[in-house]
Amino acid sequence: MANYKYHILLCGGTGCTASESPKIKANFESILAEKNLTDDVQVVATGCFGFCEKGPIVKILPDNTFYTQVKPEDCREIVDEHIIKGRKVQRLLYENPEDKAHISDSKHMGFYKKQMRIALRNCGFIDPENIEEYIARDGYKALATVLEQNDPMATIDIMKKSGLRGRGGAGFPTGLKWELCRKNEADQKYMICNADEGDPGAFMDRSILEGDPHTLIEAMAIGGFCIGATKGLVYIRAEYPLAIHRLQVAIGQAREYGLLGDNIFGTDFSFDIELRYGAGAFVCGEETALIHSMEGKRGEPTFKPPFPAQEGYLKKPSNVNNVETFANVPVIINKGWEWFSSIGTEKSKGTKVFALAGQINNVGLIEVPMGITLREVIYEIGGGIKGGKKFKAVQTGGPSGGCLTEKFLDTPIDYDNLIAAGSMMGSGGMIVMDETSCMVSVAKFYLDFTVEESCGKCTPCRIGNKRLYELLDKITKGQGTMDDLDQLRNLSRVIKDTALCGLGQTSPNPVLSTIDNFWDEYVAHVKDKKCPAGQCKALKQYVIDPEKCKGCTACARNCPVGAIKGTVKMPHEINQELCIKCGTCIEKCKFNAISII
């Protein structure tokens, strides 16, 4: 084995791959070959580092240097300066926004300081397509320990005591789920992984699958052993091609090493995993719909009970867990439940991965201990609001969640606090909004999504959500009445109470939470016919200030619909009937004469 002196790790996640990380890898390899350094320097494509805002990321070890926004043409300078001469390339280091100083070690960066990586422990550290690197990081040790002990109930007990709760959103205790499934006798049971990540803006499951696929395989085998299943199934959306590829490679390697298949670790336990592809329907994240989709039926939910633990895939007892939940399992076995349960809050243990998105400086993937406050996440890790604008709200829980306002900034984040605040944990999407976001439009956006994704089986969801959407649409067009606001509330409650599955039961949440937290904004749309954030097209007017207009004709010449009239060197005017509110005139005006009212 070559005795490498340097490792160049570069992000091979979907985001950085899109910004040419494969080309960066190829460049490094060819430059190193040209300089005869291939035995001294190893180039490794890893999973996501999380700091997607500054990607592509290149990390050099052992001196722990973190380069950001690296371009393929920067490779030569990194090799010449850093690898050969030992001098860091200053211009590619992360610049601390506060004092503009360059920071080379990621541990000193605000983005990483408050993070704690359990589920993401190997992402950005190992080569996901190399099982040996996973084994070198204590991989499969938890599975071996569990099989050697040969006491499924003891393992379930560890999971229960650890306090691990489902990371898919609902937060059901994992150990208890396994125990319930174990109790049901059957000739065949199934351990199912829900990798149908559907929340807009959430990508934690994809990143784990892309960065550390073996952790999922190991955890599913442990779970399978505990509930008495010999078969594992991963339901993954076909739109995650890189995750599917890495998972397939990992499953192949695990079989080759005897870590999947018959008589694992020389015991009586046999377990294998197959993939099932989903078409990317949001409702298929609901476990009964997911199971039907895997059976080749329509992806529609059915009433519970029977729960999957009683009658699941092919009517056999099945257990469904989310990817991130699984990723915690091997660590809990290796480090003990005492360790795990010492992290987090009273009822929510461990960490949670969040996908930070929206109007925030550091967009990316983060993992933080439960109980951290939104303020720490948004301002310390996320680096605050983009362009120095004012924070307005953060949306958690995707289309099932709600918006949290400034008053919740210091609330510790855990399952129960988020629900008490009118939102939910969800799978961990966190969309940050600034003062320019219109909350009625935000609610409308989510309803548009649920209307599209509703399977149509039950009336409240199929018709109710459509009606909610129409009411919101009416309000954003300035045609709403105060009665409509009452209607929104009543209808939301009815849908929540009567819908069949989790999708419908939670779909009105974005409406309710925005009405509760931003009542004035709704009233402004209805009574004053104004959108305070200036987002709703129908409610804004572009006007030319005759004092400032010099009659240069730039606006009139560029207006796509010919709505601006006027003679040269005389103030122009906008015909409001014709104006489509595209904003071109504002961009073209050199005299700041046009404003939105």
């Binding site: 084995m1 005795n3 002196k5 001098r87 100083a101 550290f125 690197e133 084994i135 040790k141 320990t145």
Partner: protein, 132 residues
């Protein structure tokens, strides 16, 4: 591929593979480990710094010393090349001059393992602005 048949098998395999990620793990935990910097500018390389670095890495491996070995630019002591800076956790860094292959081994065995100062220590005559 030989299948892994037991926990003991897995542990053995892990030990063999440890070195694959050892350098990364150490780099991640550098402040708690011995950090060794070998000056590798032109003068250093001409005086054999490459061999010195190889010898240090080799000896650390043989003696099971968890260390982060990196190269650095010219330290300015061209008269004493190859020069090596060693920082043990909790101690001030010490720069050793004229570190040939034999002295490199001594450095690991005597200074790092048994705290015995070798000859050729270059006294600190500068102040450093610690970069983050």
């Amino acid at each position: 591929m030989e299948k892994i048949k037991s926990l003991a098998d897995l542990k053995k395999k892990r030990e063999q593979l440890q070195s694959m990620v050892g350098l990364r793990e150490n780099g991640d935990n550098a402040e708690n480990l011995v950090q060794i910097k070998v000056a590798m500018a032109t003068c250093g390389i001409a005086s054999g710094a490459k061999q010195t670095m190889e010898a240090i890495i080799e000896e650390c491996k043989n003696q099971n010393v968890q260390a982060v070995v990196t190269q650095t630019g010219c330290m300015g002591y061209c008269y004493a090349e190859p020069t090596v800076e060693v920082k043990k956790p909790g101690n001030d860094p010490i720069v050793f001059g004229h570190v040939d292959v034999q002295k490199a081994k001594d450095l690991v065995n005597k200074y790092i393992l048994s705290n015995e100062i070798l000859e050729g220590v270059i006294p600190v005559n500068y102040e450093k602005i610690e970069t983050k």
